[in-house]
Amino acid sequence: MKKLRDHKIENILIKNKISQKIIYLTARIILHLFIISFCIIWVIPTLGLLVSSLRTKEMIRTTGWWTAFSPPFRFTLSNYLKVIQTGNMGISFINSLIIAIPSTVMPILIASYAAYAFTWMDFKGKRAIFLIIIGLLVVPLQITLIPVLKLFNFFKLTGTFAGIWIAHCAYGLPFAVYLLHNFFKQLPNEIFDSAFMDGATHFQIFFYLVLPVSLPAFASLCIFQFMWVWNDLLIALIYLGGSPEVAPVTVTISNLVNSYGGGWEYLTSAAFISMILPLMIFFTLQKYFVKGILSGSVKE
């Protein structure tokens, strides 16, 4: 009798185990399906743009971009040539570089001096000034546009690269100081103490000790600031105006949108040109980009 009952219980247990396993497997399948389909949906818009930019004008207008994957496979680079030559995208690409490189280097160096002072020097009002910088982190840029534009008009800086460099530099500072100060704080103090004992100056400590060990933080910050400046539209629109000679890619594309509302062959290829550099940075230096975002938002 007892044996039989044990057998029954065992059966139930096995059945339970099987049904548990089935539940677990279905849950896993749903999980995979959800994530994979989400990723596909997320990538489709960009994919559609890339594919369309490689198709002829007639094809874009008469068929969906997904039909490009079935024969006849007809792809062309002519849209890119056209938009670079006649759409001002070639010049704009260079303009974007001219704007973005100094606008990245300048604020980071200046911020690193300030962060160094905040971390390793003592002075009156240090805490108050640092708190002001924290407060400035969230100030909407819009509040600065009118006075700065007036200032630029007065000093004839409107429409010049120098003007936009300084503006981007100032706007990037609060975040850069904040992030670098957070990084410097974690560095072990002993090294600095012994460097001081050996008679090193602050200048030497900064360039030979702090800079080399902070390279990861600088890399994150560089990528962050570069992406932000490269992708910016508002500041370029306001301080550079619409002149094609100085317009970065974002401004040129917005002009193209206004003039060729339905000219998808221009818009798609222009948009992709503007995305190439950020995408390359993203794929090669993603680690640093993510680190920058994390250290800016989550304090460890």
Binding site: L31, H32, F34, C39, W42, I44, P45, T46, G48, L49, T62, G64, W65, I91, I94, I98, I101, P102, V105, L109, I110, A114, A117, M121, D122, F123, I132, I134, G135, L136, V138, V139, P140, Q142, I143, T144, L145, I146, P147, F161, C169, A170, L173, V177, F203, N231, D232, L233, S254, V257, W264, T268, A271, F272, M275, L279, V290, L294, S297, V298
Partner: protein, 321 residues
């Protein structure tokens, strides 16, 4: 490319670091002129000066100047009191912009944060976590301008009967029998939501990355212990992960809130505020450059600033700890 521009690049790339290094060198030399006791007092200010001056001229002074300008007429000549503010809260277009910003804040913030949380929790459980997170995060690398073009193309509308080249209308008419294609950006009942979706597409990845890092920071021992005590996945999520993730969630939600208040590029590119899609940042741009009314533009900026003050206080409190 002309030579002038080429020279400009070279001199900027080399010149900027050189000048700034030279500044520090001069600073240290200047400090040596003081006696030993004063050096400690003078040095920090010289190291701070470039950053401090820039912040003063480009952010701090403008805040106060804008406050003053917002109380003046369109050319900043005469003092008109709160008239610009009264205009903001009574004009039909402005009220519409305020309503739309409210819609943006509500839907953009909640969807990005909730979706980000769900995806962060779920991707944590699969072997291809890195790739899937990278894909979701990818739109962050793209400018809003390019994203605007991408989604204008996604929403492209052709009259019923003709071939739909816009992905969304094509999928919709193919999947749902007899469904009519929709002019997503033109129909006033849903064009705002079509725009908000673009913002969500861009920013969800950001939330996933930050929240995922937060989840990874939760100690594994705690979760293991809960499992041994017989807690199921849902209990672990609600009772352990969620409470411990609360600080990160607040940070992410605050950042999304600040982002969305200033939302400009997407609207400027996709509709330019036509057909009831106006938002306040775009309206401010128009007041500045189309209507040439600096007083009104300034008062809009002040409203934006007032809206972020709670976030500012949260940040300062956190830093004060």
């Amino acid at each position: 490319m002309n030579t002038a521009k080429f020279l400009l690049i070279i001199s900027a790339v080399l010149g900027v670091p050189l000048i700034l290094t030279f500044y520090l060198y001069i600073t240290e030399k200047t400090v040596l002129l003081f006696n030993y006791k004063s050096r400690k007092k003078v040095r920090p200010w010289l190291w701070l000066m470039p950053a401090f001056l820039l912040l003063l001229i480009f952010i701090i002074y403008p805040v106060f100047n804008t406050l003053v300008v917002s109380l003046m007429d369109k050319n900043s000549r005469g003092f008109i009191g709160f008239k610009n503010y009264i205009y903001i809260f009574t004009d039909r277009e402005m009220l519409l912009a305020l309503r739309n910003n409210f819609l943006w804040v509500l839907f953009f913030t909640s969807v990005t944060v909730v979706l980000g949380l769900i995806l962060a929790v779920l991707t944590d459980r699969v072997s291809y976590e890195k790739i899937s997170k990278a894909i979701i995060f990818l739109p962050m690398a793209i400018s809003f301008v390019a994203a605007g073009v991408i989604w204008k193309f996604m929403y492209e509308y052709k009259p019923p009967g003709s071939v739909q080249i816009g992905t969304i209308n094509a999928v919709m008419t193919a999947v749902v029998q007899g469904a009519e294609p929709k002019a997503w950006l033109f129909d006033k009942t849903y064009n705002n939501f079509a725009l908000i979706l673009v913002g969500i597409w861009i920013w969800t990845g950001f939330c996933v990355v930050v929240l995922s890092a937060g989840i990874k920071g939760i100690s594994n021992d705690l979760i293991e212990a809960a499992k041994i005590d017989g807690a199921n996945e849902f209990q672990i999520f609600w009772r352990i992960i969620l409470p411990l993730l609360k600080p990160t969630l607040i940070v992410v939600a605050t950042m999304m809130f600040i982002n969305v208040l200033k939302i400009f590029d997407i609207i400027y590119i996709m509709t330019n505020g036509a057909l009831d899609t106006e938002v306040i940042a775009n309206r401010m741009y128009k007041e500045m450059f189309i209507f040439r009314n600096f007083g009104r533009a300034a008062s809009i900026a002040v409203v934006l600033l007032l809206a972020v003050i709670p976030a500012m206080i949260i940040n300062l409190k956190k830093e004060g700890k």
